[in-house]
């Protein structure tokens, strides 16, 4: 921050006689105050006031100008921000102006009962009389100033540089200030206000534009892009291009020259503690642990299996032993014997034996016997079916019905099995064909397979999309901007919503004829929720797709099947990337000359007024005396002042632009003020130091006697005016 150091209180106030004027340059961004005749202002500070609350005592205090950021922690700034007394370039808040004047006089060391010095203060060109009167009143009433003079900063700057020999008696002063830019023709060292013109654009707009652009470009660093910092960047790096589009082309092409012109602002960044990649030993240790755990699991599984086998074998032996015993038992004793063993009949024991044998085989991992025993022929199994009904008793009839049912179900099962078997065969055959093709020409085969995979994946995806989006998604209905909108309901659900809403809104419209036609009732069926299910089973595309994926996985090691969620590629979550130094860099290239360009083309930021270059032409046109010689002489001394004229390349650009609007071969000379920022104050100080100054001021008496009209036409002239 340029003025973070507080100006020291001056101690020599009392050495100055009361006739020595105090000179104030009341600029939009900076306030400067000093003594007439001195070369530099004594006190300079930013023209802002902040009124925060002191945290400890709770009282509202006034802080004028910039302050040390380290001390702001003692104040509660939540409800106060830096306020300026200016609206545009006109003072409108005199309470703030009073704080500023308080502070400036206090810093100057004033300690008497009043400020007993004439005051020369700058104002904007054609200041509204109300603002001028209020300021004069403030100076007279509150500070007891004996006399006051107002003047325009640009004219002071011009006069000062004229004395230095930088510009001629006649010329154009172009002043680009903080919030506005002016152009005046100067004839005989006097500003011609009739020909003056103002564009409401200045350094504020340049900084604001740069700030907005940078914060739009780097939304992550928005908190670092403060006004003060951007102001600093602007002063250090911005320049005016001689030809904007030519310069932009250089950057568009991305040549080396452009790269050199890029500027990079490194934000404070601390590299995160880097994580060591795990060492070999670590990896080996981890693998060993994993292996160990796997081993243990395998052992456990094996133990479990062997114990189960053992158990089953025991059971088997027991059952076999039981059967043997049963052979030896007398026919009559069978019942009593069985009741002791817990089995009801011999058959049950046998079936249990078969079951145990089966599970034992399974446990041992042997091929289980899939084939069921050949079923006995239907006539044996369902003996009653072939008899006609009238030959059977009611009980037999019932039995026949049951048998019929059993027969049909078992037949159905048989058919399904058969079909499955056939499908299996078909697949096998297809695989075999594939295999043959592959063996014939592996390259071609793989290629074909891939192509097919791609095609099918697209088809499947499209189907999925249709399911969720309805049939109309081919980009057209995205015009409304909502890409994600309408994806919440699938087509069927949306249709249902439509039906419901039309049903709700059609009510009471004309005659109700619902139900007159048969189709009307169909509506309820469409509306019912059960209609939602869109599971038509996987379609053949999907089946084929899955088959191809399996196949590709088998034979192509490079193939990676997309996951289910991969249907929308864009939603892939960016992988976490550690932040690097580059993430904390603010790079700006085009912005360096794009922002100052608003001074020449205000419509870049939506201000429909002429830029600096055209302003010169406008003010020449507005000159009341249409004298060619004057026009020639003033265009030979085009004078640039004000803080925004400090951009490198400004003089060259203004000259090039004015050459375009002036007649061929007219003399054009563009000069910059010796110090565009301070010259206004210096010029004012020399004017105030001149003996003539006494006659240029007006007193409190004049102010109240002569009235508003006089004040309106008041103007600081070099020569005494006729009034």
């Amino acid at each position: 921050m340029p003025f973070a150091t507080r100006p020291l209180r001056q101690s020599d106030y009392n050495y100055f006689p009361s006739t020595c004027p105090i000179v104030i340059d009341n600029g939009g961004s900076t306030f400067r105050i000093g003594w007439a005749g001195e070369s530099d202002p004594r006190i300079t500070f930013r023209n802002v006031v902040q009124r925060p609350r002191h945290k400890a005592t709770g009282e509202t205090v006034t802080i004028v100008g910039d302050h040390d950021p380290a001390l702001i922690k003692y104040f509660d700034c939540t409800r106060s921000f830096q306020r300026s007394a200016f609206d545009g370039n006109v003072v409108y808040q005199f309470e703030i102006m009073e704080y500023i004047l308080d502070y400036s006089f206090e810093r100057m060391g004033a300690d008497g009962p009043e400020v007993d010095h004439p005051v020369l203060i700058t104002e904007c060109a054609c200041n509204p009389v109300q603002s001028r009167a209020k300021l004069a009143e403030l100076l007279f009433e509150t500070y007891g100033v004996p006399s006051v003079a107002f003047g325009v900063d640009t004219a002071f700057s011009y006069v000062y540089n004229q004395q230095l020999g930088i510009c001629d008696r006649d010329g154009i002063a172009i002043c680009s200030g903080f919030s506005t830019s002016h152009a005046f023709p100067m004839v005989n060292g006097e500003p011609v206000f009739e020909a003056c013109c103002r564009t409401n654009i200045g350094g504020y707009h340049v900084t604001d534009y740069l700030k907005q652009l940078l914060s739009l470009k780097y939304p992550n660093h928005i908190s670092s892009i403060t006004w003060e910092k951007v102001e600093e960047l602007k002063m250090e790096h911005c320049y005016v291009a001689l030809d904007y589009f030519l310069e932009a082309k250089v950057f568009q092409k991305g040549t080396k020259e452009a790269e050199e012109k890029m500027r990079c602002w490194q934000l404070p960044w601390v590299p995160p503690p880097s994580e060591e990649p795990p060492s070999e030993e670590e990896l080996a240790r981890k693998a060993a642990i994993k292996e160990k755990q796997g081993q243990r699991l395998r052992e456990m599984a094996a133990a479990k299996r062997s114990s189960r086998i053992l158990e089953l074998e025991n059971e088997l032996q027991g059952l076999e032993f039981l059967l043997q015993q049963l052979e030896n038992v007398q026919e009559s004793d069978i019942a009593s014997f069985l009741s002791r063993t817990g089995y009801v009949s011999r058959q049950e024991i046998e079936s249990a034996l078969a079951r145990v044998t089966q599970s034992l085989r399974k446990a041992r991992g042997e091929q289980t016997e899939i084939e069921e025993k050949m079923e006995p022929s239907t006539s044996e199994k369902y003996p009653l079916i072939d008899f006609p009904d009238n030959m059977l008793s009611p009980e037999q009839l019932k039995e026949k019905k049951r048998q019929l049912f059993l027969k049909t179900t078992s037949e159905g099962r048989q058919r399904a099995k058969q079909k499955k078997f056939e499908e299996e065969l078909e697949r096998e055959r297809q695989n075999q064909q594939d295999e043959e093709k592959r063996l014939e020409n592996p390259e071609l085969y793989l290629q074909q397979l891939r192509a097919k995979h791609k095609e099918l994946s697209e088809k499947v995806e499209q189907r999925k999309r249709l399911k969720t989006n309805g049939l109309h998604t081919n980009g057209n209905n995205n015009i409304s901007g909502g890409v994600g909108r309408g994806e919440r309901l699938n087509a069927a659900q949306r249709e249902r919503m439509r039906l419901l809403t039309t049903a709700a809104f059609d009510r009471g419209k004309g005659e109700d004829t619902f139900g007159a036609r048969e189709e009307d009732w169909q509506l309820y069926k469409l509306m019912s929720k059960d209609n939602d299910d869109d599971d038509e089973g996987p379609d053949e595309n999907e089946v084929e797709f899955n088959r191809i994926i399996c196949r590709l996985q088998e034979i192509d090691p490079t193939f990676v099947a997309k996951s289910d969620g991969g249907s929308v590629v864009a939603t892939e979550i960016p992988r976490f990337r550690p932040q690097t130094k580059e993430d904390f860099q603010i790079i700006f290239g085009v912005e360096r000359f794009r922002c100052p360009e608003v001074l020449f083309q205000p419509n870049m930021i939506g201000i429909d007024q002429a830029g600096l270059d055209e302003m010169a032409g406008i003010s020449i046109r507005r000159l009341p005396s249409k004298d060619d010689s004057i026009e020639r002489s003033i265009s030979n001394s085009i004078f640039l002042t004000g803080g925004s004229c400090l951009f490198p390349g400004m003089v060259e650009r203004v000259e090039a632009e004015i050459r375009k609007i002036r007649p061929f071969e007219s003399p054009i000379r563009v000069v910059r003020a010796s110090d565009p920022i301070l010259d206004a104050w210096r010029g004012a100080a020399t004017v105030a130091a001149a003996p003539r100054f006494q006659m240029q001021t007006f007193s409190r008496h004049d102010f109240y006697e002569k009235g508003e009209d006089w004040l309106r036409s008041y103007c600081l002239r070099k020569r005494k005016k006729k009034n």
Binding site: V64, D68, V90, A110, P128
Partner: protein, 124 residues
């Protein structure tokens, strides 16, 4: 108040000997004063410039007219020459890379870019 704050002299003193009327007397505490200032627009209206001869310079009539040059089109994002306008967002853009960026921008950013040249949609 803290010593460092006092030493830095950043706070304006309450009482200043050179003033005839102190701030605290002019604007007493705890009294609502309402708004006691006018905006520039109101000031200019009160100036009544239309009752003065038009050749007399005043704050309003010294303003520059609009530029005589046809306004150039700049890419809203990059600042390059912009031959194209995106019909959906109204953003001017220079080339296809910028267009891709424009289409990926959220609406809030689009509006902020448009606001830079005073072309944003303003809801009132």
């Amino acid at each position: 108040m803290e010593v460092e704050v006092m030493e830095s002299e950043m706070v304006l003193p309450q009482h200043l000997s050179f003033k005839r009327v102190q701030m605290s007397d002019k604007y007493p505490k705890g009294q609502s004063r309402g708004r006691h200032w006018k905006h520039l627009k109101q000031i200019l209206q009160a100036e009544n410039y239309q009752s003065f001869p038009p050749n007399q310079p005043n704050y309003v009539n010294i303003e520059s007219p609009p530029s005589m040059y046809p306004s150039k089109k700049f890419c809203d994002i990059t600042g390059f020459e912009a031959p194209y306008v995106d019909p959906r967002t109204n953003i001017r853009y220079a080339n296809i890379e910028v267009f891709k960026l424009v289409r990926s921008l959220p609406n809030e950013y689009v509006q902020r870019y448009l606001a830079l040249r005073n072309a944003a949609v303003v809801l009132k």
